[in-house]
C-alpha cells in the first residue's frame, strides 16, 4: 500500500488542510502573535518586507564573520542570500549534500527535496576531484564521505548557521525544521542561529507545525517521518547552578528569526497553502519533459511559476514559464492540500498578459478569434 493511502496519513492530510487554510486566513494575527511569542522565548525577531531587507538584516549580524554555513532552503534561495553574502566577501558553505554538490558544480536544483537528482555519479566525482583537489572514485559513499569531511572541517571555524523552517508555531514561538542529514542540527548549535521563513509558514501551535512537517515528509519522500524534526524555541540555556540562568551552553546563544513577506501577502490564499512537498512537480507532465526551465529558482512546476508572480512580478513568472502549463490539474489531484494550481495560473496569466508579457502564438489566436470567430486562419 502506498503510504499516502494509509488511513492515519489520510487523516493527517485532512488535519493539515484545515491547519493551512486556517493559518493563511489568520496570517496577520499569527504574524503579530509570533512576535510576542519570540520575545517571550528570547528569540530576536524581524519582519522583512523584501528579500533585500532580509539580506541586510542577516548581513548586519554576520558582517564580522569570514565564513557562514547554511542549510537547504527555498526561502534563502529566493532572496539570493548566498550571492549577496559572497559579494560582501563572505564564504557561504552549503551543508546539504545535494546543495553542496550543486554549489561545487555551479548548477541549479531540480527538486525542492532532492536538488542534485540530475547528476550521474561520474559527473559528481569529477567535480569533487577538481574542486576539492581530491581523488574520489565514482561511488556514492566515497562522494558523501569526502564532502562530509570537507564541510565538517570548514564548520569548525563557523560561528553562524542559517536555516529555513518548515513551519513556525505562532502561539508557542517554536520553529520546526525537517532534515535527514543532521546538518540543521549542527547549524542550530552554532553561536548564532538565523532562521529565515516565509510568513506563509506560520501555523498556530507546535502540534500543528509538527503535523505540517510530517505530512510534508510523507509526500516529499514516501517515508513516514524524516530522521530529524528539529524544534528551536529559544537560545541554549541552563539553570543548573543554583537556579541561575546561564545562556550559551551547548547550543546557540543567539537565535534570530526573520519572517519574509516578499510579495506573499499579494498571493491568493490557496497559493499559500503549499507545504513544499514537491508532489506537484513530480506529477507534472510538463516538468517531466522540460525540467527546471519550468520554474524560478527553487520554485518549480506550476505552483512555482505562479508563486513567482507574487514574489518577483510579471516578467519573472513569464520567464519561469507561466504559459508552459497545460492546466491539466494533475498536480492538484496529487497535492495533499489540493491547491487549485490551474486556476491560480489562469489568474496570473491575465496579469502577466496585461503587463505585456505574452506569446505571439496566443496573440495571433486572440486576433483570429476576434476577426473571424476561430483561432485558426
Amino acid at each position: 500500500m502506498e503510504i499516502i493511502e494509509d488511513p492515519m496519513i489520510r487523516e493527517l492530510k485532512e488535519t493539515v488542510k484545515n491547519i493551512r487554510e486556517t493559518s493563511i486566513k489568520n496570517l496577520e494575527k499569527l504574524l503579530q502573535r509570533v512576535g510576542e511569542s519570540f520575545e517571550d522565548n528570547d528569540i530576536e525577531f524581524y519582519i522583512a518586507e523584501t528579500g533585500e531587507e532580509a539580506n541586510n538584516i542577516i548581513y548586519d549580524i554576520v558582517k564580522d564573520e569570514k565564513t557562514i554555513a547554511k542549510s537547504k532552503s527555498n526561502t534563502l534561495t529566493e532572496i539570493n542570500l548566498v550571492k549577496f553574502l559572497e559579494k560582501k566577501g563572505l564564504e557561504v558553505i552549503e551543508t546539504d549534500l545535494g546543495d553542496r554538490i550543486i554549489q561545487l558544480t555551479n548548477d541549479k536544483p531540480i527538486h525542492p527535496t532532492a536538488p542534485a537528482l540530475h547528476f550521474n555519479m561520474e559527473e559528481i566525482a569529477d567535480t569533487i576531484n577538481e574542486k576539492l583537489k581530491v581523488k574520489v572514485d565514482a561511488n556514492p559513499e566515497d562522494i558523501m564521505n569526502t564532502i562530509k569531511s570537507d564541510v565538517l572541517r570548514k564548520l569548525e571555524d563557523v560561528n553562524v548557521g542559517i536555516t529555513g523552517a518548515n513551519a513556525v508555531a505562532a502561539y508557542d514561538g517554536s520553529i520546526v525544521m525537517v532534515h535527514n542529514e543532521g546538518n540543521i542540527g549542527l547549524l542550530s548549535l552554532k553561536d548564532t542561529h538565523i532562521v529565515v521563513f516565509g510568513i506563509d509558514k506560520l501555523v498556530s501551535t507546535l502540534e500543528d507545525a509538527i503535523s505540517v512537517a510530517k505530512l510534508e515528509t510523507v509526500y516529499a519522500t514516501g517515508s513516514r517521518v524524516p530522521s530529524y524534526i528539529g524544534v528551536v524555541s529559544g537560545p541554549s540555556k541552563t539553570a543548573d547552578i543554583q537556579k541561575i540562568l546561564l545562556k550559551n551552553m551547548y547550543g546557540a546563544s543567539r537565535v534570530v528569526a526573520i519572517a519574509l513577506d516578499n510579495g506573499r501577502r499579494k498571493a491568493p490564499p490557496e497559493c499559500l497553502w503549499c507545504i513544499g512537498c514537491g508532489t506537484c512537480i513530480t506529477s507534472c507532465p510538463i516538468y517531466n519533459v522540460v525540467g527546471y526551465d519550468f520554474g524560478y529558482k527553487g520554485y518549480l512546476g506550476g505552483r512555482g511559476v505562479a508563486f513567482t508572480n507574487f514574489i518577483e512580478g510579471e516578467r519573472a513568472s513569464f520567464d519561469a514559464g507561466i504559459y508552459m502549463c497545460t492546466l491539466c490539474s494533475r498536480c492538484t489531484t496529487k497535492c495533499p492540500l489540493e491547491v487549485p494550481i490551474a486556476d491560480i495560473i489562469e489568474e496570473v496569466r491575465c496579469k502577466v498578459q496585461r503587463a505585456g508579457y505574452k506569446l505571439d502564438a496566443h496573440e495571433n489566436i486572440k486576433r483570429n478569434i476576434k476577426e473571424t470567430g476561430t483561432p485558426f486562419r
Partner: protein, 232 residues
Amino acid sequence: MDLIYFRGCMGRERVPEIVRATRQILDHAGVSYSILEDEECCGSVLLRTGFREDAKEKINENLNLFSDSRLLVSCAGCYRTFKIDYPRLFNVKVDVIHSSHLFYQLLEAGEIQIKGDLKVTYHDPCHLGRHCGEYDAPRKVLEAIGTLVEMEDHHMNAQCCGAGGGVKSAYPHIAEKVAQERIKQALNTGADILCTTCPFCKYNLKSHRIKVMDISEIIANLMGVPRSTKIN
C-alpha cells in the same frame, strides 16, 4: 428542448472527422438537432491564455445565440468552459452534454447498437475528467464495444496529452514530447486503439505507432457493421 450540436473550433477546422462521425450517429439514432452556421469560439482558448476580457465578450455573444437550447459538444475544452466558466463568469447555467455521455445514453436506450471485439485503451481528457469529473460514460461505451484496458495512469491520475492551456500553439515541441509519453503508456497496454473524447487530445496524440480515434469515430465505424469487423 432544442439541441444544438456545438462542433467547436477543432471539430470545424482541424479534425472534421469527429463532427462527421458524431452527426452520423445522431442521424442514425434519430436525434434531432441543429448546427449553428455562424458558430464561433466558445471562449476556452482565450480564457486559458490570459485573455479573460476578450473571452467574456465572446461568451456574451454566444449566450445570445444559444438562448435556452441544450448544447452537445465533442470537445472537452468546450465542455469545461460551458459547464464551469460560463456560470462562473456570467452566473448562467448552460445545459451542456458531452457527446460521449449522449452516446452512452443512446446505447442504453437501444437507439444505437454496436458490437465489436476491439481492444481499446481510453485517454481521459483533462477537461472532461479531472476538471468535470466525467470518467464513466466513455468507458461504459467502450466496454460495450469490446475490451477496455487501462493505461498505467488513468481516471484522476491520467497523464495529459500535452495540448492544453495554449501549450500546443506556443510550445509545439513540448506538447509533442508530452504526447509521446502518453503514447508509450497506450502502447504498453497492447490495445489496438487509443480512444479519446477530445479533439485537442486526438490531434496532439496522433501517432504512427497506434491508431488514435475519437469515441464518435469508433462508434460510427461499428454501427451496423458485422460483429467481427476490425477497424483498419
